[in-house]
């Protein structure tokens, strides 16, 4: 879902960069001293997740895990994703430096949105609500990212509906896998360290 260089027009790139700066500033401001290692670990998870590849017909897609990052980090998902995307751009030539802003906002904004949507659900006592919330968080974050990519490509003359359909269809398996993965992580954290989910709520 990384958009390559040379596709988007300057206004789109500038808008993306500006929004990313704002989001990252909020994220850094809200990031507690004790939370920094967690942000770094999840940033590396995101960095590596993009290498896990789901072959799919003529094209191929990979894990994104932005829902998980959003759930655990809240606004701090912005700096985490920004750093990971920057390194992916430099080391693997995924995306690119000029599109860094757009790509960050495309993945981090859905992360934050899902954080606000599902943060209460995952700490619920009712295990159905908890599982459903976690699944939707992983599932929706990827879906929203796909829609945002389609929106970014809108100004290049590609038809929004077609691109969105294509991206969402291609990422459906990833959405399912990420939903399940998020459920697994939430369950695991509840057992080992429930504060990690609670703390995220308290500090933001």
């Amino acid at each position: 879902m990384h958009i390559s260089e040379g596709i988007l027009s300057a206004p789109v790139l500038a808008t993306g960069a500006a929004l990313t700066v704002v989001g990252t500033a909020i994220g850094l401001k809200k990031m507690d001293y004790d939370k920094i290692p967690e942000v770094a670990i999840l940033s590396s998870v995101f960095f590596v997740a993009s290498l896990i590849h789901v072959p799919l017909g003529p094209t191929s897609v990979h894990l994104i895990l932005n829902g998980l990052l959003g759930l655990l980090l809240g606004w701090s998902a912005f700096p985490a994703i920004l750093v990971a995307l920057f390194l992916q751009g430099i080391l693997f030539q995924f995306g690119g430096l000029t599109t860094l802003g757009v790509n960050t906002i495309n993945m981090a904004l859905p992360a934050v949105v899902c954080y606000f949507l599902f943060r209460h659900a995952v700490t619920s006592e009712n295990s159905w609500v908890e599982i459903g919330g976690a699944f939707c968080c992983g599932f929706l974050a990827v879906g929203l990212s796909g829609i945002m990519v389609a929106l970014s490509l809108l100004f290049t003359g590609q038809s929004f509906i077609n691109v969105a359909k294509l991206i969402l269809l291609a990422h459906l398996p990833v959405m399912l896998i990420e939903g399940l993965f998020t459920v697994f992580v939430v369950k695991f954290l509840k057992k080992v360290k429930p504060e990690m989910l609670e703390v995220a709520n308290a500090t933001n």
């Binding site: 967690e38 770094a40 590849h53 072959p55 191929s60």
Partner: protein
């Protein structure tokens, strides 16, 4: 604090597991082009080595005008006779925001053989460079210098084809483990830096209060 440590350790192990399972993904496309016998051959790949099938290829001249359009075949290949003397920019669009480009200079185009003078239709099927039967003539038959040149060119093209292909393939490499570890190292380096800055701020604030 202790529990945090365990969680972080567990997460780190997950990362490592993911790492060793990772057969490197596609999130980058590459296009390679080379000239041979007056024809331009291109090959397109995703970063994991999957070929870009049925992807759009555009050829632009120096003024940025699209002079040729085509689609890659199942092997990710697309070949065409250059419609002008170049330089040519070849752009690959593999959908969903994937794009790559490569440039063939005038010199590249000329080295590769005779450039077609008139615009001709693109061929999607890559054809082996044509070898003419006259190549068999040897011995006493007198050959003019031009003919000899032509023969040599044709033979060289034919012999070099596999080598060129190999070169193109070796140029394309996916994500290396070294890069992955480098990235992880950078992330933790940045983490250290952020902790340091935040700590310095904290200390400064404490100093003011005292």
């Amino acid at each position: 604090m202790r529990q945090t440590k365990y969680v972080l350790q567990a997460l780190f192990i997950i990362i490592l597991l993911l790492l060793f399972e990772a057969p490197v993904s596609a999130h980058k496309v590459t296009i390679f082009a080379y000239v041979e016998g007056g024809k331009v051959y291109t090959e397109s790949y995703y970063v994991d080595g999957t070929k870009c099938q049925n992807s759009e290829v555009e050829v632009l001249d120096s003024s940025g005008k699209v002079v040729l359009k085509g689609k890659t075949n199942k092997q990710g290949e697309f070949s065409f006779v250059p419609p002008c003397k170049g330089p040519l920019k070849i752009v690959l669009r593999a959908g969903m925001g994937h794009r790559a480009e490569t440039v063939l200079s005038k010199a590249d185009l000329q080295e590769g053989g005779n450039v077609a003078t008139k615009g001709s239709a693109a061929e999607t099927e890559p054809a082996e460079p044509k070898i003419q039967a006259s190549g068999q003539k040897t011995g006493e038959i007198a050959i003019s210098q031009n003919e000899l040149k032509k023969l040599l060119n044709e033979t060289l093209d034919r012999k070099l084809h596999p080598i060129l292909k190999l070169l193109v393939e070796s140029q394309q490499h996916g994500v290396s483990a070294r890069d992955v570890f480098a990235g992880l190292g950078y992330i933790f380096g940045i983490m250290g830096l952020v902790i340091y800055i935040k700590d310095a701020k904290k200390q400064g604030r404490r100093g003011e209060n005292d």
